[in-house]
């Protein structure tokens, strides 16, 4: 008997498949096309280039950038992860691209300057090895037959054999494996077929392969590059009960253990044909935003996870003010800071000072003693910083210790909706 799905499949046009398989890919937050090796096609024999920072070619009304052609190879899937639109028990329309279709879409979009490259993910069909091997086939064809030098990101199927993942790393700029949820218990509850230990082992393999690819052999020969833009992962926020403190602690260990380039936080977004297990809520976008801010503080501002979460109520970050400001308000005894004398580590902790501003302060103050207006020109946001710093012609007086300081930054209270 020919099932309904096979019938659909036979009549689907490329446009219909693209609609289904990009719709299915939209819940993956990652879009970066940065940080890989520099390549170009000046020799006239290929197509594409990568030069440090990637380019966001368009923005959708959800505010997310569109940098890569982010699609699923297929949204057929034998797994039943509760939070996923493609889970086996969902009735969404299914489709599958052929290798040729993905290759041609990528190249034709790239030639028209729509995209930086391809981000290929997939539902698990037949078994993890076959699925991953099909994805690798697409990347290999783009690189070796079509001479494509743009960006390729492959989402790794965690259960796939290490050899297949090792091959993927030769063609892809970035590999990623989603840890999906912040705790092992949640993964087991919501993604019964996925094994948190296997996911970690796969990330460990990618890290080991990357480390190995950086070592020269005894003859001085360099091994081929392996996923030069590193690996990343994604955690869904708000589907389970994990607190921000749990999430950030998990991220810290992911960054340290597997040398991840990025951990993406994805506010759980209601999906069509959802299971009753999950809340049909508005995605917690502000929470997601605060987690990214905290993540940045840990990676670029020298904050430890315990500092950020120290004052968090019930282990969650303050939604009304950013985590750096929240930290400063709890540590007022360390302020105000003299911008003309303070060291880099403390300047980085001033709310309203970014890393660039701090660098500029450090170079400029060798040249002159800084005033309030100078700080403005150096790019500081003084609306926040003014309460925490002193300059040649500025002192916050008792502003730093005033009890209503938090209220000056937090948005005015909103009446709760009655419906």
């Amino acid at each position: 008997m020919v099932s309904e799905h096979t019938m659909n499949n036979m009549t689907q046009t490329l446009q219909q498949k693209l609609a289904i398989l990009s719709d299915a890919a939209r819940y993956d937050a990652s879009c970066t096309s940065s940080g890989t090796t520099r390549r170009d096609s000046r020799d006239g024999k290929g197509l594409g280039s990568t030069e440090g920072a990637g380019i966001c070619h368009a923005y959708a009304p959800d505010g997310r950038c569109i940098s890569l052609l982010k699609i699923l190879m297929t949204n057929f899937c034998i797994y039943d992860c509760a939070y996923c639109v493609n889970r086996v028990s969902s009735n969404v329309t299914r489709a599958r691209f052929s290798v040729d279709e993905v290759v041609s879409l990528t190249l034709e979009f790239y030639r028209r300057n729509y995209i930086e490259g391809l981000f290929l993910s997939s539902g698990v069909i037949r078994n993890p090895d076959d699925t991953m091997a099909d994805m690798v086939r697409i990347a290999k064809r783009l690189r070796t037959v079509e001479n494509f030098r743009g960006y390729i990101h492959l989402k790794t199927i965690p259960d796939a054999a290490p050899e297949i993942i090792a091959e993927a790393g030769l063609y892809a700029d970035r590999l990623s494996i989603n840890v999906e949820l912040p705790t092992d218990r949640s993964v087991q509850a919501f993604a019964p077929e996925k094994n948190p230990a296997t996911i970690r082992a796969a990330m460990g393999d990618v890290r080991a392969s990357r480390d190995a690819s950086k070592e020269k052999s005894h003859t001085g020969k360099r091994p081929p590059k392996f996923a030069p833009a590193g690996q990343s992962t994604q955690m869904i926020v708000g589907a389970d009960g994990a607190t921000d403190a749990t999430i950030l602690t998990r991220s810290t260990s992911l960054y340290d253990d597997y040398k991840l380039r990025r951990v993406y936080y994805s506010a759980f977004s209601p999906i069509p044909d959802s299971t009753a297990k999950l809340p049909l809520i508005k995605p917690p976008l502000m929470r997601e935003h605060r987690l990214y801010q905290a993540d940045w503080l840990m990676r670029f501002y020298g904050f430890g996870v315990e500092e950020i979460t120290a004052g968090a109520q019930d282990g969650n970050l303050d939604l009304e003010i950013d985590p750096k400001l929240a930290w400063a308000l709890q540590n007022r005894h360390r302020f105000p800071l003299d911008v003309n004398k303070a060291g880099r580590d403390m300047l980085l902790r001033v709310p309203g000072f970014g890393t660039k501003t701090v660098n500029r302060i450090l170079t400029t103050r060798r040249y002159r003693t800084l005033r309030y207006d100078d700080l403005l020109r150096l790019g500081a946001s003084l609306k926040k910083a003014r309460a925490f710093v002193t300059a040649l012609d500025w002192t916050p007086g008792n502003l730093t210790d005033s009890i209503d300081l938090r209220a000056r930054f937090a948005p005015p209270p909103e009446q709760l909706t009655l419906f």
Partner: protein, 482 residues
């Protein structure tokens, strides 16, 4: 007043050369009238030609890097501002470091604006296929930059789209890349470009990658300002996408969950072995239906481990052989028999041990008379490690004996150098592992080498006996180790 004409194409080189001459001739900023592309008013024009000295002058590298971009800003004052700073830099070499200086801050701001424009051009140029018949494909785009960024930006497009011919037409300057050569021409009116079917596909992608539950319009417009929309094929869909977002989310929430499709039960049944079994019964049931690797296909049956479930010693071989595959019991073939003899010589009670294999299905190729053993590959071993780990978790042996490289790799995570490591005990999260050779290796040896190899193996097995006798930790210690 000295009038300095600057061309629209090649502005940077012209300004740099002129500034070099003016500075060597000590011409102060207020005596210069920069006339870019004949846009200066006639009023102040003079006949004094600019000096042509080409004396080398020293300028901070930061300044050159900044000026190279600022000259493309649309502000008519850009050349004068740059020269004024250059004039100051003669006497005050450190001025570039003073980031808070108002004049420098203004120029840095202009530099940033040009960089942003450059970046947006790289992002928002949209080529259309001209469907040329030549050997190279040919594309063209119409773009309206905010600043004069076509010229400094064109090399980027040349590096990226080198295997095709392309043209970027703007009202300012047109860049043309033909057979590997880049050239610049006058700006033009918007040309009539042929329709391109790819734009409809791109529109489909743009509409479907959008998540209506996360509407954040200002985040979009701050990065993709409306002034660019008229030349972006995907922008036509934005108003409808915004207008329908709320309804789509509400309908999604109101639609009752559907019944799961019929195929789910079948797939679930296939996957049932996936969670790590918590009991011996579940292990046996899971093993029976295992399809993790392709070996289940040709094999007769799965060969699970055998022996007491409270054994202190676990013995792990490579994989079932021909006879084991038929019997469904491990260690009954020739290698198993040899092992039993050697164990007896070493005083090891084989019946008291739990015996199993690293891979639970027989891998073979058809020989002329019988099925020939083939080594399992890494993928098969790693799939089957799931079961081995389950056995180790359930059994918690005091000592595990690894017979040969495959078992050693599966048990210790490192399959290298079995000959060097044999006879040694290695610690693993599942307890100590004693490494020795696989009895089948002895069977394949020339008869002369056999006695010595057998003696070595017996000695390894005696070590196992001694270790077991000394390793009798109370339960709580074993728990702490796991």
């Amino acid at each position: 007043m000295i009038g300095v004409p600057l061309p629209r194409i090649g502005t940077w080189e012209a300004w740099r050369d002129a500034a070099r001459g003016l500075l060597s001739a000590r011409v102060p900023p207020e005596d210069i009238l920069w006339n870019w592309d004949n846009t200066a008013t006639e009023l102040f024009e003079t006949d004094i030609p600019p000096p042509t000295t080409r004396q080398a002058i020293k300028v901070p590298a930061d300044f050159v890097a900044m000026a190279q971009w600022v000259v493309w800003h649309k502000d008519p004052q850009r050349f004068a501002r740059l020269y004024a700073l250059l004039w100051r830099l003669r006497l005050d070499k450190g001025a570039m470091a003073d980031r808070a200086d108002p004049e420098l801050a203004r120029l840095r701001q202009m530099e940033k604006a040009v960089h942003r424009c450059k970046h947006k051009m790289r992002a928002f140029v949209r080529f259309r296929d001209l469907r040329s018949d030549g050997p190279r494909r040919s594309f063209a785009a119409w773009f309206e930059p905010t600043h004069h960024t076509v010229e400094p930006n064109a090399p980027f497009f040349a590096r990226r789209f080198a295997d095709m011919d392309w043209m970027i037409v703007t009202p300012d300057v047109t860049a043309k890349f033909s057979s590997g050569t880049l050239s610049f021409h006058e700006g033009r009116e918007r040309p009539d470009l042929p329709d391109d079917a790819a734009e409809a596909l791109w529109g489909t992608y743009f509409q479907n990658i959008f998540n209506p539950a996360r509407l954040k319009v200002s985040a979009m417009t701050s990065e993709m300002p409306k002034k660019y929309w008229k030349n972006l094929p995907e922008a036509q869909y934005i108003p409808d996408m915004i207008a329908q977002a709320e309804t789509r989310v509400r309908e999604m929430a109101e639609t009752a969950p559907t019944l799961e499709p019929a195929r789910v039960a079948r797939i679930h049944a296939q996957l049932q072995e996936a969670p790590q079994p918590a009991s011996w019964n579940l292990l046996t049931a899971g093993l029976a239906g295992c399809t993790r690797c392709p070996l289940h296909g040709p094999a007769t049956q799965v060969v699970p481990g055998a022996g007491p479930h409270d054994a202190a010693l676990m013995i792990v071989g490579e994989q079932p052989g021909d006879q084991e595959d038929l019997a469904g019991t491990p260690f009954v073939g020739p290698a198993g028999q040899l092992f039993d003899q050697l164990a007896a010589r070493a005083g090891l009670d084989r019946k008291a041990a739990y015996v199993t294999n690293a891979v639970k299905h027989f891998k073979f190729k058809e020989g002329a008379k019988r099925r020939l053993h083939v080594n399992p590959n890494t993928s098969e071993v790693s799939h089957c490690k799931f079961w081995l780990d389950t056995e180790r978790t359930l059994l918690r042996p005091k000592l595990t004996l690894a017979l040969g490289g495959t078992a050693m790799g599966a048990l210790t995570g490192d399959a290298k150098a079995v000959m060097k490591r044999r006879g040694s005990i290695e610690d693993t999260p599942h307890g100590p592992v004693l490494i020795t050779l696989h009895p089948s290796a002895l069977l394949r040896m020339p008869p002369a080498a056999r006695p010595e190899a057998e003696a070595a193996m017996v000695s390894d097995l005696q070590l196992a006996v001694r270790t077991l006798a000394s390793l009798a930790p109370p339960m709580d210690q074993r728990q702490a180790r796991g």
